[in-house]
């Protein structure tokens, strides 16, 4: 009985195993299927799959504030002008422009051979419709980029006038950005508040579909021949299709390139950069982004941090070099100024100026009357010395880890850091319930500081004045900076502002963000614009 039973079970086990093998056989089949599919995609050489770390919120250029949206819609929309790496401007959809004597009126002449992807004609009416669209429901960055914009006037079919209420030097820089890319007025009208899901522009790629959280598919605009002067390509794109896959999980995203299932992936984690550089099939590109470095902004309104001495003590106690080296393993550059090094007016003299000095930090706090209690935390009048450190979630670029290290470092001088990591940072910011907030922004003009520092740009008024600064002197400097047309004078103004920010411990710069892309070596011609965003118009895929 026992023996027979064993035999029977052996038999059934054998059957199970055979079934398993069969299944595994299917598996191999399947594998061949995939690899031949790969060969096909590599052979047709005209489809680029690019893995994004986060999803755009909207593809309406006038309504999004996200860098990731810009990466996608830049391919759909063209701009009036093109900003070069040296900061100067060249024609794009506009063939030329004239600034009035008082600096308040810009007259653009437009190209006459451009059509939108839906067949509508590109002309002055279309440009005006875009500005009206931005002003009626504009969210995101577009309104800020237009500064003191007052109105747009159609002079004739291919001439448009932009009228400002005061001189605004950063206007051209704004107009060159994808956030002021030109949409088809017909599409804006047709799709209404769903336009962000059905964008139509004049760019090298047409929008095909967007499956939320999965992929955004664009295809070549065959009629395209009005590319920016920075591009080598003069005709339609070399790529037939451009597919953006949304893959939030880092290992999966990078794995898609390593396995050859995708051709490129953005935001390579620092610990993987050197490993990928050694992979002979792959290449890692790094591009420094322009705008503000990731910096910790001090809320200068709340006690006791409204005292510059208290803020300075904190600055002296934070060892930025250690933070940057520990977390980014030498792949990120340490920041010295709130502005990034590629920016007009970046103050080189700030480099290596700030060094940690715990003794001095302690001395400052002693002088302010904060005495260490039994638990090592300083106290004054029965109150503990606490910093409320606010950080957005998820842990983008290890920013939450920065907060954790700062927490440890400040403990040494007897400051308790209460860390709040949340996706909803708007509520505490609106209510002023924070002492430190970390942030970085992207823009190619130093006027970015206006939104960060001017007294009328508090968060509740649509600005990003995290420091809650209201200093008439700074307001005046920012005003001069935005209206001054002599580049040398502009530089001097922004130097002053940067120095003020460091000397008064308004912001502590931490790192300059490098936008990193890992891509197959078969992808050639991938370039980055002034903002550090990828450009796909010149890309070719070679075997």
């Amino acid at each position: 009985m026992e023996k027979k039973q064993t035999k029977k079970w052996l038999q059934s086990t054998a059957i199970t195993l055979a079934a398993a093998l069969l299944l595994a056989g299917c598996g191999t089949d399947q594998g061949q299927g995939t690899s031949s599919a790969q060969a096909v995609s590599a052979g047709s050489a005209s489809e680029l799959t690019y893995a994004l770390a986060t999803s755009p919120d909207s593809l309406d250029a006038g309504a999004s504030g996200f860098a990731v949206s810009h990466r996608v819609f830049r391919n759909i929309f063209d701009s009036l002008v093109s900003q070069q790496k040296d900061g100067t401007f060249q024609p794009w959809l506009a063939t030329g422009w004239k600034k009035s004597e008082d600096g308040k009126t810009y007259t653009f002449t437009l190209r006459q051979d451009v059509t939108f992807q839906d067949g509508t004609k590109f002309n002055a009416e279309a440009v005006k419709a875009n500005f009206d669209h931005i002003y009626s429901g504009g969210r995101g960055q577009s309104i800020a980029l237009l500064g003191p914009f007052q109105s747009a006037e159609v002079v004739d079919e291919y001439t448009i006038k932009i009228i400002l209420s005061k001189p605004f030097e950063p206007l051209l820089s704004g107009l060159s950005s994808g956030f002021l890319g030109i949409s088809s007025p017909k599409a804006i009208q047709e799709f209404g508040d769903q336009y962000g899901k059905h964008p139509v522009g004049t760019g090298p790629f047409k929008f095909v579909k967007w499956s939320e959280n999965d992929e955004i598919v664009l295809e070549k605009n065959p009629d395209y021949k009005w590319g920016p002067p920075t591009a080598e390509n003069k005709g339609p794109s070399h790529l037939d299709k451009l597919i953006f896959k949304i893959i939030p999980e880092e290992a999966t995203r990078i794995g898609s390139v390593q396995s050859g299932q995708g051709l490129a992936a953005e935001t390579v984690p620092p610990q993987l950069i050197s490993a990928l550089q050694n992979d002979e099939k792959l290449k890692v590109d790094q591009s420094i982004t322009n705008g503000t470095a990731f910096s910790l902004y001090f809320n200068t309104k709340n006690e006791p941090w409204n005292d510059v001495k208290a803020r300075k003590a904190v600055h002296l106690a934070i060892d930025v070099d250690t933070i940057v080296n520990t977390l980014y393993l030498g792949t990120y550059q340490r920041a010295w100024s709130p502005l990034t090094p590629g920016m007009l007016g970046y103050d080189v003299t700030l480099e290596n100026k700030l060094a940690p000095d715990v003794a001095k930090a302690n001395q400052y706090l002693d002088e302010l009357g904060w005495k260490k209690g039994a638990d090592g935390i300083r106290e004054k009048d029965g109150k503990k010395l606490i910093i409320r450190y606010l950080e957005p979630s998820p842990n983008r670029e290890k920013r939450n880890d920065i907060a954790a290290i700062v927490q440890q470092q400040l403990k040494q001088i007897g400051v308790q850091v209460n860390l709040t990591i949340t996706k909803d940072t708007n509520t505490p910011i609106s209510k002023g319930e924070y002492d430190i907030f970390g942030n970085s922004q992207v823009k190619a003009d130093p006027d970015i500081l206006t939104n960060l520092l001017r007294s009328d740009r508090m968060f509740t008024k649509g600005g990003t004045n995290w420091a809650q600064l209201s200093d008439p002197n700074i307001d005046k400097l920012l005003e001069q900076g935005s209206s001054e047309s002599d580049p040398e004078k502009r530089k001097a103004i922004y130097t002053k502002i940067q120095q003020y920010m460091i000397e008064n411990a308004i912001a502590l710069p931490i790192y300059v963000f490098p936008y990193t892309v890992a891509h197959s070596k078969s992808v050639e011609g991938l370039k980055f614009d002034l903002l550090g965003y990828p450009q796909f118009y010149d890309v070719q895929i070679r075997n």
Binding site: T13, Q261, S430, F459, K461, T464
Partner: protein, 308 residues
């Protein structure tokens, strides 16, 4: 039987309404102001903030808000997402198929692997197969899906290049996420089936059947397994619920579409209409599955059928 079904449907409705209400309460009391979050600092004045609050009906007392929400729901109006102002129903319908497919595949993996290993394990008690099955069971229960998912990706997608690494198109994209999530349920079922099989095998009626000379396989599969399956069915019902919640992680790791992922995003952003919509849908699925499980008892166990 009809009576049972009527009672069941009534309980089902109560469960759906109850869970909607619970979520409404939780989202209501959670810290953070949805209006401030929506405006993203674009409000020009406190009056403007109040204006938006009024538009969304958020100035109304709690019970009015809930009633209004529920009345709209009954009319098939799930509202508009506060993040991207797309209709919630369309959003859910776009994501539901991917999640259902994933849940179905993982449930199949769980049930197949779980039952087969559970039975083999009981029959070969303390042998090699038993050890192996128990290891798989323990692995399934204790490994975070996040971890299992990445391990499988490393091996099958990156090293061997057999399966797609991400996305939600084609049946191949379901294999790894299905196994990842399925292993959790398999772990539960292996243990359940093994234990009940062991109990059943030592029951006197099995001894009788063997004594009568019935073939061992018939004893095991026709009689023992059938009785061992009843408790396992209950586990399967509960498991489907777990699978639905497990999709949040698995959908993120494998970059799949799905209601789990939009739910997580919506909770973070306090996008109440989306959270409500997804919970409503999930509750319906959950209730449906449990209903099916209850019905299937009577097919496995004739006593239940007769008593009804």
């Amino acid at each position: 039987m009809t009576g049972t079904i009527a009672t069941r449907l009534l309980t089902a409705a109560l469960v759906v309404i109850g869970s909607s209400m619970l979520v409404f309460v939780i989202m209501y009391v959670l810290p953070g102001d949805p209006v401030l979050q929506m405006l993203d600092g674009n409000a020009t004045s406190p009056e403007a903030i109040e204006q938006v609050r009024k538009q969304l009906g958020l100035d109304q007392p709690f019970y009015v808000q809930f009633l209004q929400y529920f009345l709209h729901l009954l009319q098939g109006d799930f509202g508009i997402s506060r993040i991207d102002s797309s209709p919630v129903l369309a959003k859910i319908l776009e994501h539901v198929p991917a999640t259902l497919a994933l849940t179905l595949v993982s449930a199949t993996v769980s049930i197949l692997v779980g039952t087969i290993l559970g039975v083999l394990s009981a029959i070969h008690r303390n042998g090699f197969i038993d050890m192996l099955a128990r290891f798989v069971g323990l692995f399934g229960i204790s490994m975070p899906t996040f971890w299992t998912g990445i391990l499988l990706l490393l091996l099958f997608s990156i090293q061997l290049g057999l399966l797609p690494i991400a996305g939600s198109t084609g049946w191949k994209s379901l294999v790894l996420p299905g196994i990842t999530l399925g292993l959790v349920g398999a772990g539960l079922i292996v243990r359940m089936v093994r234990n009940t099989m062991l109990e059943v095998i030592s029951e006197p009626y099995i001894v009788t059947l063997r004594a009568k000379g019935l073939a061992e396989q018939a004893v095991m599969y026709r009689h023992a397994l059938r009785n061992a399956l009843i408790p396992a069915l209950t586990v399967i019902g509960v498991m489907i619920g777990e699978l639905l919640s497990g999709t949040v992680v698995v959908e993120t790791v494998f970059a799949r579409q799905g209601i789990g992922r939009i739910l997580a995003d919506a909770i973070m952003a306090k996008d109440l209409p989306v959270v409500q919509g997804v919970v409503f849908f999930t509750a319906i699925i959950y209730v449906l599955v449990n209903f099916l499980v209850d019905i299937s008892y009577s097919f496995v166990d004739p006593r239940i059928r007769r008593s009804q």
